[in-house]
Assembly symmetry: C2
Homo-oligomer: 479 residues x 2
């Protein structure tokens, strides 16, 4: 699951970037040498022939498959990635522990009982409570948005199953995920506060397949209630029946819940820098996935892209000045646990993380680069962007870059960050569903991603000067 | 499920049409009056505003849902359609019994055990045998086509699970269904003859969704074995593992089978003709559907289109000369039982069925009209085609028309037939899957279908002369 910028915030964020400028006033400018630009251009063209990213994704999704955080495949996936990183010849491979509540999905079932009996294709949300043994049957009250639920009289909701039917449409920047993820993450808590018995949403997705989109919800202090997503065609059925004006009753049987704590790990690999090995560029993705699919686009792709980029750099005649770090983060899906643990573990040496960018929106073509860097490093980012331009990447110099979901916590403690924006038009058709499988990866577009990451990593690792990483540097940038 | 012409047979069929010509030599020519052409043109344009077809499909899929032949919803669907036909004001509504073996699906589960454990999205085929209690585990042997299985040494297959991975691609005329349906209908019997323990196929579909395509298989004297379809992404997984060269073992647990005989019914409605009420044009679709979806494209659409066309004709100031008959056929899916029963019941008066056409390939735009009529009626078909031309329909005068799946048996006993070919490009993405739901119906394209059927029915009902229906008239036309 990526965290996407709310486009409403961009002007504010841009203004803050400008306001923050004086703080960096004393810093020297960062530049990239012409020879490095030339080497990066060759690296870019070589990376367009990469097969290692696809092989990584193919291997992980075929040999391990689904990777629910804390589930049966969690350890298996870590062992697979550790072995793979070692086999690929990284100079150093290590793990760092990540602890979180272990949520398990045992079974799930739902059906409309009246006015017209129909089975429902649904899936429990992460952290959903179980229904009582034997299931839960209640009347449904429907809303077309989060705000409509919020505005409702709690008496109309009490004891009922709340259904929110908000729709998402497909866009290159995926901004409608803001609608769907708000309903999913905040809707169940709101419904619980209002006294609802359970919560259903139209899947946060842009497809019309009979495959529900799971994802985490956040009860944030509210009493957990059963919460699930129905597929778009099932949401249509619910809405048609609600429109008929006849009472709609649904039976839910969700067997799921939290089973104590689990300790997994971030898996980290590094190519050792030739001159400043203690400084690094960091990239990666998250190793966990939701359980209905095999987590190809979300997010074997993210790690695969970083692996491909690192392999392309490793194939150069000389190692870059700084180290290149690849992180396979633990449990992004239920609350950025891996990213937060990594940030906590590396906060003290954050200035050594010169720049970072993580991929968590599939593997379709990267179309935009944005950055949160010190003003004196803007020119260097522009140099990087110039090498990326022939790949169809545009540089939006006035927009910040959070570094991606798993690196957002690292960015929040001070790391300068790039965001390399993938085309998300198709992403939310498959995101968090059984359809997240290898066939959704387009090898040609994947190679473009590898080239973009390879160039960005290499040039950041070679740059003369830093990008502004220091404790708390971006504290006021984002919401 | 439509039965599609094999394009290989078309030249032969065309030749037979020509050879058959002398048999009709003594018959007078059939013509359509200019006033009727003008009325049909107005009817066509009015039918493009039809909403009754969509309302029919919406009602049936929402208020009844899946309609597995002989299943829980079989009687409910019949009662719904009888009530709907009566409410729509048909002059006569009646049923005719149809008896067939009742096959039931209780549960189904499959998983890869080795070399890499993965769950499988699969669905049992109609008439599949059950696995033993506790399931069946066996090694898998893979083939890329029906012919490759046929050519295999039975010793290599004995006791194993046969997997056939033949692929279909999307075409407007849907011809690749010939590949997929052959593997599905004939593969399990062949595997059983060769001593296989069970049979799996790559779904007969053109999508890459994690939703398997069910459909009937035909053991034709072979001992029934467990037989199921896996979704395309699951077929990819199986093929990747087979390619690795390591032994692949799968566990199947299918609880399904035949539970005696069931008697359902064809539901028939008629608008009484003004001058020759005992003669009629017949159109329709099949009322049963496969059980994973709600049977919107397959085949609520077929009945809905006929209903819409009949409603448009009923709205004219005068009834046409001949009657207009709409049939909702029972159990097409497991072997054309409704169509065969109808043919048997009406064989004696087949000459009264002046012409017929049934819709069973969804509701996307009709792009071609073909006909099996006597040579002296070709000019009348050309007149009908001329009225359809502005709707984007081309007339392929040298290709036969079987009348569609449910009417193929009626055609076989002598009814002249039109085939109104729907664009099947999207159809096999959803066919026989949980994705066969109302949202896959494009209301605009559906209206074009209604207009095509309304024009065809009206002009056939008004024509001066017949189209060649008589006992055994087309016996040599098709394979």
């Amino acid at each position: 699951m990526p965290r996407l910028h709310s486009s409403r915030l961009l002007p504010l964020a841009a203004a803050l970037l400008v306001c923050a400028a004086p703080a960096f006033g004393a810093n020297p400018s960062t530049t990239i040498a012409a020879a490095d630009i030339q080497a990066a251009t060759q690296l870019r063209d070589a990376a367009l022939h990469d097969d290692s990213a696809f092989q990584f994704i193919e291997g992980l999704t075929t040999e391990v498959g689904e990777r629910l955080a804390g589930g049966d495949n969690d350890l298996k996936a870590r062992e697979w990635v550790i072995a793979k990183f070692k086999a690929l010849g990284f100079d150093k491979v290590w793990t760092e522990p990540v602890t979180y509540p272990k949520w398990v999905r045992r079974s799930e079932h739902g059906e409309i009982l009246a006015p017209f009996a129909q089975p429902l294709a649904l899936t429990a949300l992460g952290y959903s409570a179980a229904t009582p043994a034997g299931g839960l049957t209640a009347e449904v009250v429907g809303f077309d948005s989060f705000d409509a639920l919020k505005a409702a009289d709690p008496a109309s909701v009490r004891g009922k199953i709340v259904f929110v039917g908000a729709r998402m449409h497909a866009f290159r920047d995926g901004h409608d995920y803001g609608i769907g993820s708000k309903v999913r993450t905040q809707g169940p808590a709101l419904a619980s506060h209002m006294g609802a018995a359970a919560f259903l949403l139209r899947s946060a997705g842009t497809d019309n397949n009979r495959l529900p989109h799971t994802g985490v919800t956040n009860f944030a202090g509210a009493t957990p209630i059963p919460a699930a997503a129905v597929s778009a065609p099932d949401a249509d059925q619910i809405e048609r029946m609600l429109k008929s004006g006849q009472p709609l009753s649904i039976r839910l049987a969700l067997d799921c819940g939290i089973e104590g704590q689990y300790t997994g790990a971030n898996v980290i690999a590094e190519l050792r820098g030739a001159k400043k090995p203690d400084e690094h560029f960091v990239m990666g993705g998250h190793l966990d996935s939701w359980d209905p699919g095999t987590g190809a686009i979300d997010d074997a792709a993210g790690i695969g892209i970083a692996v491909g980029a690192a392999q392309a750099i490793a194939a150069l005649p000389h190692r870059p000045a700084r180290s290149i770090r690849v992180v396979a983060f633990a449990n992004e899906e239920s609350g950025l646990f891996g990213g937060k643990a990594y940030a906590a573990a590396h906060k003290a040496e954050i200035a050594k993380a010169v720049l970072g960018s993580e991929s968590d929106a599939g593997a379709d073509r990267i179309w935009k680069i944005t950055a949160s860097v010190k003003p004196q490093a803007r020119a260097a980012v522009a140099q990087i962007a110039e090498v990326l331009k022939p790949l169809g990447v545009e540089y939006a110099a006035d927009e910040p870059g959070s570094g991606g979901s798993d690196l957002s916590a690292v960015h929040a403690v001070g790391m300068a960050a790039l965001s390399l924006h993938q085309d998300a038009t198709r992403y939310f058709d498959w995101h968090h569903t059984a359809n997240d499988t290898l066939d959704k990866i387009d090898p040609e577009q994947l190679r473009q991603n590898v080239a973009v990451y390879a160039v960005s990593a290499y040039l950041a690792a070679q740059a003369n000067g830093d990008f502004g990483s220091k404790p708390g540097a971006w504290a006021n940038e984002h919401e």
